[in-house]
Symmetry: C2
Subunit: 466 residues, 2 copies
């Protein structure tokens, strides 16, 4: 579903493509299949193809590409593996898509210091495979096997942010190439620093609109001695969420704590052939020493029991843990299976945890009133939850209803002191919400964008309207 | 020791003072004692008095002050309680010092969500007194009873950053007044968000050079069920630091882990009338459940024993904990007592922990070769350590030697992948080091400064040369 580029700049692709080809040879492509693969992410958003895709192998090549793009006034879109969810990689105004997949080296692991330097195209699973033998791991898990550059760019998090934080907390430093083609390093290897402005945090979450991230230095963790998984169901969503609030307030360092609502459990039972109660259910993971995990399990079990939780199934054995969590792992595809041929439209609000039960209950009512088919699944320890709306992408009426529902959901979350996006980012799908959430501060963000990218060539049309 | 202001801008104080007085009455002062108190912090740096000090009571008043300062082209310096250490509050070009002490309300505590909104003039001890009855606390402890606005501005941390992070990780959002007098909110109450640029982190650590922070929203923690303190000594600094490395790598969540070198222990024994071994000594604190703390203590004790640690004294009783940690608490004044009349010049490098023993050992040798009197004390879990050089501020030769020593220390840390400042910030004392550490990225910082404060009126001469 390629859509014509609506470039409002004077940009002629042909001479730029010639120059890129002269520099990169076969690592510069205008193959229609490749252009198409780089014009969209995993979301329902429409495809917008770039004019050319390049595959650099090091930071210096990225800088050279940026200089050429500047000379030719071309838009530039950094591309990881395209697993974003708000149209982040769509080439709204055409231009050059920089595919980072060939920059996939783990540059150095410092096991004594628990840090690692990776090129931006390394994926999180690749990194964890690389680290396993050293007893180390990188915890951030957004579900998809995204690149670490992409995860930094969207400020990704996922299931175990409740314990380990998000990309914001786990990026120590970056190598970036600015819009005018200069190479810079931000941050460093020290655990903390008070030296100047926090450029690292400015680029984490900037969605490719300020420059290209080519290397990422990350914090690592020792693989826990013991891990346990647990599952327990509740008569109501409020009971489940109140359990989570009590667990967090008690300072029990759960590694993951996920909620699936009754509709999602129904889908999962059907899809994964399970026999769970079709009730709001918590999936929990514990990391620590053997005694520490046992203590955490007892504490959480007691809290869940107090608040109406049913049977508390748990295990430390790898195969049983996998089985217990299967419904959670399969949730997305289980959802889609409820309506073959549909696409999932994932919402992403995050609210203060004290308002979470109320927000989810109202959202569930809204789903039913709207006639949409949707499941709720939440990273509830952070107050972040997704509804996956199953839409027929060829039905404009239904898309409109889904849009209106998401609009009400965001308003509800903002009224509760929340955010329109806990972890997916703004892309071009949530620009209106960003204004609604941050008001005048968006003007300040825009000012920074104009300063660092005065020609608006870095991923134009994302975060802000062009 | 007031020094004439060297203003390079057209700024006439008199009409601005008249306008401020008309607005604020007695909350606008040109009393020489008050000017002097606002012209310096706790460091050895020379005093530079502002022309006028104002005491706003709310964000709107700060905005009105900023509009007046803009109209009169006046520099503005935000002032907490003046406990910074690199000359941050000195009015290098005169102007208006905005004293935040009357903005000292705890605005709202959300115990369910573990967050609090405070005005920027609330100090950390005031906040913890306020929270105690609710079983909550705010962990960041830079030693001094600083304001939370000041701590955010310098990206403060201190002894328990190893467990709880720094101000970077614990500020959820800010209310700021920009250089042109607009009020903006950054961040929010949600635990995480991927909505737009991270303006909160841009202002945290910006040392008053981008605007005035008037409110801070912070993360809170439940007071741990059990706390334990422990002390143990080692034959060499390398043994002590290697113990720390093993503890951190094992993922043992120590709340604090501090090193005092033999010179510091000698000073402390003398000052606090203690009988500790005059050897490199670790002071450790543990937070958790009763069983969890006991397990942590056993693990750390075993590691310390393996690496040559002597007697391992520890306790969970409050009065014994205080006694065990007394040498650590009194360290600064114990140091000063070694040389009555001297001033402490605290250095602040932070290196990857794998290089920490080497860095400290070389620094100890350098101290001895330089003929300076200095103790070493470290937040070793983060790789951050201070040497307190005891200088006679009236001896220019000695000050020069101290400066040269600090210069070598910073170079040593940078060569090891470290930073010139772990927690004190740049102020005007470390501007040259910032360039040395971040190179071209300082140009990017400066670009942001110029964009947000085009007239260079916000704390001019800090972080960057005017």
């Amino acid at each position: 579903m390629a859509i014509a580029n609506t470039s409002r700049r004077i940009f002629e692709p042909a001479p730029l493509i010639d120059a890129l080809r002269a520099m990169l040879g076969e690592r510069c492509s205008i193959n229609p299949g490749i252009l198409d693969r780089h014009g969209h992410d995993e979301s329902y958003h429409a495809t917008h193809n770039p004019d050319v895709v390049v595959f650099p192998e090091n930071t210096e090549e990225v800088a050279a590409i940026m200089c050429l793009a500047r000379k030719h006034s071309a838009p530039v879109i950094p591309f990881g593996v395209g697993t974003s969810l708000e149209g982040h990689v769509a080439a709204l105004e055409g231009g050059v898509s920089i595919d980072m997949s060939r920059m996939n080296r783990v540059v150095e692991v410092n096991s004594d210091d628990l840090d690692v330097l990776v090129e931006a195209g390394v994926t999180r699973k690749q990194l964890n495979n690389h680290l396993r033998d050293q007893g180390l791991f990188f915890p951030i898990d957004p579900g998809a096997d995204a690149t670490l550059g992409g995860m930094a760019s969207t400020r990704a998090s996922g299931t175990n942010a409740v314990r380990y934080g998000t990309m914001r907390e786990n990026v120590l430093g970056l190598t970036i190439v600015t819009a005018d083609g200069r190479i810079m390093k931000t941050g460093g290897r020290a655990r903390k620093s008070a030296a100047g402005y926090d450029l690292t945090r400015l680029f984490v979450g900037s969605e490719g609109t300020l420059g290209v991230i080519t290397e990422v230095r990350l914090r690592l963790y020792g693989i826990p001695e013991t891990m346990a998984a647990a599952v327990t169901s509740f008569p109501t969503i409020a009971d489940a969420v109140n359990t989570v609030i009590r667990v967090i307030q008690s300072g029990i360092p759960v590694a993951r704590i996920e909620l699936l609502d009754e509709m999602q459990m129904k889908a999962s039972n059907h899809y994964s052939k399970l026999d769970y109660a079709e009730q709001p259910t918590l999936f929990i993971e514990f990391h620590g020493s053997e005694a520490g995990v046992a203590e955490q399990v007892e504490l959480v079990k007691a809290i869940a029991g107090d608040l109406g939780g049913g049977e508390f199934r748990w295990s430390v054995k790898p195969e049983e843990r996998t089985k217990l969590w299967q419904a959670r792992h399969d949730a997305y595809y289980a959802g889609l299976s409820l309506r073959p041929g549909s696409k999932g439209w994932p919402t992403d609000v995050c609210v203060p945890i004290s308002r979470l039960a109320e927000c989810i209950v109202e959202t569930r009512k809204d789903i039913e009133a709207s006639g949409l088919l949707a499941m709720i699944l939440g990273h509830v320890g952070d107050g972040n939850f997704h509804t996956t709306i199953l839409v027929d992408p060829s039905d404009p009426q239904e898309l409109k209803r889904a849009e209106a529902f998401n609009d009400r959901l965001v308003d509800r979350a903002l009224a509760m002191g929340g955010t329109c996006t806990g972890e997916h980012g703004i892309g071009f799908g949530k620009i209106a919400f960003l204004e609604r959430e941050h008001g005048e501060a968006v003007g300040l963000m825009r000012l920074i964008k104009q300063t660092l990218d005065p020609e608006n060539r870095m991923n134009p049309g994302k975060i802000f309207r062009s």
